[in-house]
Symmetry: C2
């Protein structure tokens, strides 16, 4: 069992102004799936992409937009999102505050999934 | 792709004062794992139990205690917890405000996992 605050976990910038932290994954002994926390600055977005695995997302705080191709839907605190395999998606922070979301992905062959297809 | 606010999802009481809502699961087409949101009232706790599958937990808001047998650790907003298979665990709200956590579990044979062992 391991407890760690996400703010103490090293992050990497997945696009300008969007930082990803792996808070429960292979390093913590995760057998099946990986929990990540994304912090997205106002005006920033995660890369628009698809991949053959799913996402389960939860908006911890802030507001933004879920983009899927030409479709845009509002995202608000407390929203849960099921992104099915191969659905294009990105999350944009269209507000003036920080957007913080949880995003869970499966392990593929026991590892973090590989490089997704970008658009 | 489906977006829904967790407050609009029907919940069930897993113990007095502790409500679980499945926000991304089989009904949403989840292939591998299930995201649930728990709201725990002050003085309430989830059942103390173990099971052969893991939990990945994130504290969305509030404060409480993570119990594992005789061990108690504080839980605060932004904490992520990796509970490995077969580790006894429960979450108690020892604060005077609502405790809201995400808890993700794997699907077992494509279904929500069965009844855990209670202590």
């Amino acid at each position: 069992m391991k407890i760690q605050n996400y703010r103490q976990v090293a992050g990497i910038e997945v696009s300008p102004g969007a930082v990803r932290r792996v808070v429960a994954g292979p390093a913590e002994g995760a057998p099946t799936f990986v929990m990540r926390v994304f912090e997205i600055e106002p005006g920033s977005a995660t890369p628009h992409h698809s991949h053959p695995w799913e996402h389960e997302i939860f908006v911890v705080s802030g507001r933004g937009t879920l983009v899927s191709g030409d479709t845009k839907n509002p995202l608000n605190e407390g929203d849960a999102v099921m992104v099915l395999p191969d659905e294009p998606h990105s999350i944009a922070n269209t507000s003036d505050g920080l957007l913080t979301v949880i995003c869970v992905v499966p392990l593929v062959d026991g590892k973090m999934p590989g490089t997704p297809r970008k658009y």
